[in-house]
């Protein structure tokens, strides 16, 4: 009679250990395998954050989204993370898309002045009213991939 109970407890402990191990080592969000929660234009995404940052954060932050916009700049100034900047409002508003360094060659092959379809993890809105030297406003995406 004792044996099944012991076996049950052992299984429970094993299960708990397995669960703890799995959550400790769970992988980062895989952008490639995650379907985009929203698909929108760079202009609409920028406008959402510029109009109501809190609402846009709730809606888009930590989610994989797909964005279509025209390339303002290909920014290879940081070797650790190649970046592409999309036009957000035609002025000082942008979508800044960061790629893994393994994507550098693909980013380099992009041409300025073309439209780009990109999927990435939304990280929020880097803008600050109080800091006068940092007047540009960027919606930030990370772990991006180019959608052909």
């Amino acid at each position: 009679m004792k044996r099944p109970i012991l076996l049950f407890i052992a299984l429970l402990v094993l299960g708990a250990v397995y669960y703890a191990y799995k959550s400790y080592n769970k992988p980062h969000t895989n952008v490639e395998e995650t379907a985009a929660a929203e698909s929108l234009t760079a202009i609409n995404l920028f406008d959402a954050f510029d109009t109501d940052e809190t609402a846009a954060l709730t809606k888009y932050a930590d989610k994989v989204i797909q964005v279509n916009g025209s390339i303002f700049q290909i920014d290879l100034s940081n070797d650790a993370e190649p970046q592409v900047v999309l036009q957000g409002n035609g002025n000082n508003g942008f979508i800044r898309c960061g790629f893994k360094s393994s994507e550098t060659d693909k980013v380099k092959r992009l041409n300025d002045n073309v439209t780009l379809n990109v999927k990435g993890l939304c990280k929020g809105f880097n803008s600050s009213e109080e800091l006068d030297l940092l007047a540009d406003k960027d919606v930030v995406l990370s772990n991006c991939m180019i959608i052909e």
Binding site: S128, V140, S142
Partner: protein
């Protein structure tokens, strides 16, 4: 007589242009790096952000940073989740900013390649708490691009970051924040 006046005006103009070129202007980047590192005997934790927005004014020495908390990448997804949800409440407090001064700006010759140091101090804001921090920064000028490196320690408890007892031994009370940014001249 007229010729001399014209000559003086011309010389003044040239001097003024040369002066503004060398000492004025805003230097900026959107791709600066911030790393933080927490060391304890139990665990080392490190995270990186490569999209740091920062600029300085070469005439006044005014220096500013703005960085998104959610954009710090940790080696482990679970750590990143705990950092954002439990410690930093990054949806409620999405940014950290710094506003301060390069105190010895006049000692940095942006027109001449070389390495310069200066004390930097100012206000660091995280989770709606603002505290003064200061450090010594190293500026390396290479053909007009200015690389700045600096580091300082932050105690999470100073910024309303509660660390539960269970993980207390895993998180340092002296988290090292390191900055590495390449500034370009803008205007």
């Amino acid at each position: 007589m007229k010729k001399i006046t014209i000559l003086i005006v011309a010389l003044l103009a040239v001097g003024l242009v040369a002066f503004t070129n060398h000492s004025g202007g805003i230097y900026k980047t959107n791709t600066g790096n911030i790393n933080f590192y927490s060391h304890t005997s139990v665990e080392d934790i490190t995270a990186d952000n490569h999209k740091v927005k920062t600029a300085f004014d070469a005439s006044s020495g005014k220096l500013q940073f703005s960085v998104l908390i959610k954009d710090f990448e940790f080696p482990k997804a679970l750590m990143q989740e705990h950092f954002n949800e439990n410690y930093m409440s990054s949806t409620k407090y999405p940014k950290s900013t710094f506003s301060g001064t390069i105190e010895n700006m006049e000692a940095i010759n942006l027109a001449q390649n070389g390495t310069y140091t200066s004390p930097v101090s100012g206000n660091l804001t995280m989770k709606d708490v603002t505290k003064e921090v200061s450090t010594i920064a190293t500026f390396t000028v290479t053909d007009g691009v200015v690389n700045a490196k600096a580091s300082f320690n932050v105690n999470p408890e100073d910024y309303n970051i509660d660390i539960p007892k269970v993980v207390s031994k895993k998180i340092s009370r002296e988290i090292k924040v390191s900055i590495d940014a390449d500034y370009m001249h803008t205007h």
